[in-house]
Symmetry: C2
Subunit: 296 residues, 2 copies
């Protein structure tokens, strides 16, 4: 037997993201002990019963000092406070990573809250599983074949980045690296904007007196287009606000695109409509379906 990658991991937030991370590392014997913290005692007990964590943490100060890795798997809105709590107690060899869907804001908080220990924080965004939540949804295979984006900081040592990368790779993930700003621009375009657009369409229908008639004729195109409008309102409120600048740029760009289509439609410009649809179809058809196995 080789030595496990980590002797002790402390996870804040033992739901789908944090819980699946623990289960995945346990499956490949990459961790000896997992300690969990969270806001709900019931969730922590459930996580323990499900074998996600070995122990429910009691005292943050004493637990994070000798941990090899601290994982921040809470909603992004809670991370600043959490970072402030752990900062004074992090051991010199303790690495920190997270599972937040936005990165510029998390990194900004890391600089503010972790101060001189920011080099120990290697930010990450696993592209998986936003539609379920809770410890009961956690599973060892969640990250298998899925993408995880690391957004390393200039302060990180190569060794620290490699260690966090190995952790995610041990979960079965395909790890890439972007800067925090690149990350947020990419996900504004391919994830955050589509969510906003899908919410907007359904909200528009929800305002109408004849919404039931309309929905009774909605079919599979509508079903797929609006699937992401059933996502968590709180989570997406936070993501939109956290990535506000990049998302506003995308939204304005998209409205300009719609204004062009509106003009083409009003003018009866068949060629322009077909050309637009054809370019879209070609790109979409060429996008390989195996990339789509990653969950948003």
């Amino acid at each position: 037997m080789t030595q496990p990658l980590f002797k002790k991991i402390v996870i804040f937030g033992v739901g789908l993201i944090g819980g699946s991370f623990a289960l995945a590392l346990r499956r490949v014997h990459a961790v000896t002990e997992v300690v969990g913290f969270g806001r709900s005692a019931a969730t922590l007990q459930q996580a323990q019963q499900l074998g996600i964590i070995d122990r429910i943490g009691d005292d943050v100060a004493s637990e994070v000092g000798d941990a090899d890795l601290v994982v921040l798997a809470t909603p992004v809105g809670q991370m600043a406070e959490l970072m402030a709590r752990i900062a004074p107690h992090l051991g010199v060899n303790t690495l920190v990573t997270d599972g937040g869907s936005t990165k510029s804001d998390v990194v900004r908080e890391a600089y503010a809250q972790l101060g001189g220990k920011v080099a120990q924080f290697v930010p990450a965004h696993p592209i998986a599983g936003a539609e379920q939540s809770g410890a009961a949804a956690a599973r060892a295979g969640l990250y298998q074949g899925k993408k995880v984006v690391l957004t390393p900081l200039p302060e990180n040592t190569a060794t620290s980045v490699a260690r966090v990368r190995h952790a995610w790779e041990a979960c079965g993930a395909l790890v890439s690296e972007l800067t925090p700003q690149q990350h947020d621009e990419v996900f504004a375009a391919v994830s955050h904007l589509p969510h906003l657009l899908s919410f907007a369409l359904v909200h528009d229908l929800a305002q109408r007196d004849n919404r039931d008639v309309l929905l009774s004729f909605a079919a599979s195109g509508f079903r797929d287009f609006t699937r992401i409008a059933a996502s968590s309102p709180e989570m997406w409120r936070d993501i939109c606000l956290a990535n506000r600048e990049a998302l506003l740029l995308e939204l304005q760009r998209y409205v300009a695109e719609l204004n062009q289509l509106n003009a083409a439609l009003a003018a009866g410009d068949a060629g322009k409509l077909e050309q637009t649809f054809r370019a879209a179809r070609e790109l979409r058809a060429g996008w390989t379906e195996n990339q789509a196995r990653n969950d948003v």
Copy 2:
């Protein structure tokens, strides 16, 4: 054995829509003879080999005179010419129906081209199968449990409407009735607009130098949101133009919705964002999945 519903059906366009209609009626022995017309000799031969049609039609004039039912299952753009061709030869007992995705324009052409025989035309829109095409894709079960919308004309007799209704019900479809204008307003909202929005998003990405990087991080939310952007450019060009007025109203309404979200986002209005997302989520979650079995 009861008498078949129809002795002779003539189908123009023996692809997915027309071919599946024929196969469905054959399966329940509701038709004795099916004659096919189309622009491609190869497709007609394939349809005959697949048992969709009994014969390839040669002379429109002689075939439509003694037909019980003529089905116009071509793209909507070809229907006016087709109506003009069949009009002089339709027998007094020959009914006509169609499979077009828009109705006001088809009805307008029917009045123009069929003249005094317009009472024989009962317009229909089967909500099924826009993503595949061709005779090879036709199947007897395509309409099983799917919605078909009839948009009867004031000139239609109750008997004519009932007979066309029975034909679609014999295919397994759930038949509703709307006016042509109601139909087009409903489908502008729940089908045509989502298609336009999906095409627009992918077209926007297609214009960018970094589109490959962006797409490499696109996941299942993007996959579902953009599935309909892989639809036929020609077909959707025609649908958008045919339903231009209703679609323009929907598009302008949607842009107004986006402008509101843009303002909320720019102002950091968390409450407004959450409220919008929550209303959307509630409507979407309440929309029963069994309705979604209908294909657009």
